[in-house]
């Protein structure tokens, strides 16, 4: 009688033969990130050409990448016809965003902690938080511009109202999922309550606070732009509308690009390093390249290529 044993499953990495350098570079996440803006540029140029060839209208309204770049460069070098240059414009918006964001984080954390710790507080706020989540930023913008007119208060409060429900929900869920077993451990070792709050409760809330901050920042930013667009007399949202009113598509796209650049800057230069520092205790995650390798290994095994 012949017995067959299943091939021993070993680490996929040991079986994977090293691909040529060029193939590894093309398949790497870094290359994919580098490729994306160039793919957008090609798509943009081809799209412009197709529209001009197939649609009978004044194609001069379409902005070319060159026009957008020239516009952005003019803004960067302070050569603008808008009332405020790009630095002052974004300075005004960022100040409103910063104040609104700080208030949303502070109040949202307090209310979220209360809702997580008390059923009565949760019941009191629950429906209103859900209503805030469902409220479109446009409605706040119109509402606030009617109340406060065209000063700083409307856009700042729009940031608070847009961001605060996300902070509340995240902090509440953070409190609900705090590790009870670690509190028991602290109790068993007679660790003082204040020390337990500082070293157990707060660190366990950090991932939720971080998620809350990211949400409050991005949602608040959108709320701010809409509020400035409808109820402002300066700021990034208002300036986009200025270029829209002037029928300058390259101005609208150029300002959008400034938004993208700012968002990427904040994500990669501010948030990501903080996240790496705060969560350095987390075991390294399996990256997409590793998953891909494992998937390739499974394919090899299925086709018999990966086994001896």
């Amino acid at each position: 009688m012949t017995t067959h044993t299943a091939p021993r499953k070993t680490s996929p990495r040991r079986h994977t033969t090293q691909a040529p350098l060029i193939v590894r570079f093309v398949k790497s996440p870094k290359f994919a990130r580098f490729l994306f803006p160039w793919a957008v540029l090609v798509f943009w140029l081809i799209g412009n050409k197709l529209i001009q060839d197939s649609w009978d209208f004044d194609s001069s309204v379409l902005a070319t990448p060159r026009e957008v770049w020239d516009f952005m460069w003019a803004e960067i070098t302070n050569d603008t016809v808008a009332p405020d240059n790009v630095y002052r414009t974004f300075g005004i918006s960022l100040r409103r965003l910063g104040v609104g964001f700080a208030i949303a984080m502070f109040l949202g954390t307090l209310i979220g902690l209360g809702m997580g710790l008390s059923k009565a507080i949760n019941a009191f706020f629950h429906d209103w938080v859900m209503a805030l989540l469902a409220m479109p930023a446009l409605a706040w913008a119109l509402f606030l511009s009617l109340i406060f007119g065209f000063d700083n208060r409307g856009p700042t409060i729009a940031v608070i109202l847009a961001g605060i429900p996300f902070v509340i929900v995240n902090i509440r869920e953070g409190v609900r999922s705090t590790p009870r077993e670690l509190f028991d451990m602290s109790g068993a070792f007679n660790v003082p309550r204040a020390k337990t709050v500082r070293h157990v409760l707060l660190p366990s809330l950090f991932p939720f606070m971080f998620a809350a901050a990211r949400y409050a920042f991005s949602i608040g930013w959108k709320g701010l732009v809409i509020a400035e667009l409808f109820g402002g007399q300066d700021g990034a949202g208002w300036t986009m509308k200025f270029w829209y009113d002037a029928h300058r598509l390259h101005g609208v796209i150029g300002y959008s690009m400034f938004f993208v650049i700012l968002a990427l800057f904040i994500e990669n230069v501010v948030l990501e390093p903080i996240s790496r520092r705060v969560f350095k205790w987390r075991p390294a995650l399996t990256g997409p390249d590793v998953v891909e390798e494992e998937f390739q290994h499974e394919l090899d095994v299925a086709s018999g290529a990966g086994t001896l």
């Binding site: 451990m185 068993a188 070293h199 205790w281």
Partner: protein, 246 residues
């Protein structure tokens, strides 16, 4: 070394039809440099008793006195899972349960890390350690506060047999070295026989059914004939009491 006195201890969970009796009229007297194991089937109140002794839970009625030379004794606890703070290093986990962070305290923590063979892992995070290493940190943490009495709740049940065996040997050496009173919950009769001076047998409903003295010299080798006979006799008592345990 602590003295533990338990009088008419009773613990219930839930109310009305959902009421569950976890411990029923438990009376005990323990003390000195002893290693006491509590065994019994799942749901017999072993962990509940340990939680009450350590102050994590309060009894429904009854009295628990844990004293050291007439004063309230300081307890240490080793949990089923290590329960380390994942965001703090191994050394910081030990320091977290200390009253201060003086050089003397740090040196003591380092001493116990070395006793569990982790002297060079103080700067690692728990996520960088294996399950066995994490449990070792949990043991070092409990010893590092130099408790009068140490409570251990199935500390090796999550580990593989070889790691558990090695940790049992280390634990026993530390117990012999530090002269602590250890109360050890397990569902493994072999483990209880290998480690203990006394074995308390609990039955479903939280009743203390038997109190067995294991009068064999340490260290005990599970393959030794006398240890095997002791284990068999304890298991026979389990059969007589109609208890089902591994």
């Amino acid at each position: 070394m602590a003295d533990i006195e338990i009088k008419n201890l009773h613990k219930e969970f839930g109310v009305g039809d959902d009421k569950v009796v976890a411990l029923e009229d438990v009376n005990l007297q323990l003390g000195g440099h002893v290693f006491v194991s509590i065994v019994g089937p799942s749901g017999c109140g072993k962990s509940t008793l340990l939680n009450i002794l350590s102050g994590i839970e309060t009894p429904t009625s009854g009295v628990v006195n844990i004293t050291q030379s007439g004063h309230e004794a300081a307890p240490g606890y080793v949990f089923q899972a290590a329960r380390l703070l994942p965001w703090r290093t191994v050394m910081d986990n030990l320091l977290f349960v200390q009253k201060d962070k003086s050089d003397e305290t740090r040196a003591r923590c380092q001493h116990y890390l070395e006793m569990v063979q982790l002297g060079d892992k103080g700067s690692k995070f728990p996520g960088e350690l294996s399950g066995g290493m994490q449990q070792r940190v949990g043991i070092a943490r409990a010893f590092s506060i130099e408790p009068d009495v140490l409570f251990m709740d199935e500390p090796f049940s999550h580990l593989d047999a070889i790691t558990a065996r090695s940790l049992r040997t280390e634990l026993h050496a530390m117990w012999a070295d530090t002269k602590k009173t250890i109360i050890f919950v397990t569902h493994d009769v072999g483990e209880a026989v290998e480690l203990s001076d006394r074995i308390l047998v609990f039955a479903k409903g939280g009743r203390l059914e038997d109190d067995i003295n294991i009068d064999l010299p340490f260290p005990r080798d599970p393959s030794d004939e006398k240890v095997a006979i002791a284990k068999a006799s304890v298991l026979r008592k389990f059969e007589e009491l109609d208890l089902v345990v591994s």
